[in-house]
Symmetry: C2
């Protein structure tokens, strides 16, 4: 288990692979990278990941049974949790309850970086169906915000 | 479950109690505050806490079976993990393996704030015995660093 992982100026971490998702037709995110900071250890029931959304980009609109706990790491943007949209900044905390739709967007000129703590043992995210999108769109603020 | 918790300028979080430990003779920390940011939810196997050590202060020198994952939140300082002392700064990550002695100190003129992710289900920290302190002190760098 590596004990010390230094953050570099550019918000990458020493020795941590930077995973850039491929953007293909049919993918549901835009300009997002991921770094896994926690050790792969059976002694630790959680994972700590860092996601960064480039200006104009967004994470996947999704929900799942497991709880997400996010901590904004850098920059600013907005996030949807359920039917509320929040303006977020560095070190604000966001709790995403079970089965709650959520999405992060880098709405300004800065990247939006956030840490996310999740259980190692978790269900797969689910994407919205056409019916889900219709239900979400009943709220005009949510309709304006979401990207799929 | 509260979904959004804003960080204030002074590194306290809206609606989160700031726990200041009482410093009594026989306590093993100095000038440390604690805030618990994660929800108290059976759906979430981890806790996210924010600790802040005032300049000159230190956390308890301790070890335990459960793994600590720390993320520096603000300021700078040093931490001991096992027999190594690291200079730490904002958003560096520190993993503390099982049964490994560790201590954080705000060694400069700034406070040292760090987030700590732990399992909800965890053993109690253990303090060093006289024999442990003797063993730790065999390494001069560790001997100089530790505060009890």
């Amino acid at each position: 288990m590596k004990t010390f992982v230094r953050r570099r100026e550019d918000f990458t971490w020493d020795g941590v692979p930077l995973l850039a998702y491929k953007e293909e037709p049919g993918t549901h995110f835009r300009q997002v990278t991921r770094q896994v900071l926690s050790p792969d250890s059976a002694d630790f029931p959680a994972e700590l990941r860092y996601f960064e959304v480039a200006p104009g980009g967004h994470s996947t609109l999704e929900r799942h049974q497991h709880v997400h706990m996010a901590l904004i790491g850098r920059g600013a943007g907005h996030c949807l949790v359920g039917d509320e949209v929040f303006a977020v900044g560095a070190l604000d905390a966001v709790m995403i309850p079970p089965l709650t739709w959520h999405q992060f967007r880098a709405t300004g000129s800065e990247p939006l970086g956030f840490f996310c703590v999740v259980s190692r043992d978790r269900d797969r995210p689910r994407l919205p169906t056409e019916d889900d999108l219709k239900a979400l769109g009943a709220n005009p603020a949510v309709k304006d915000f979401i990207r799929v």
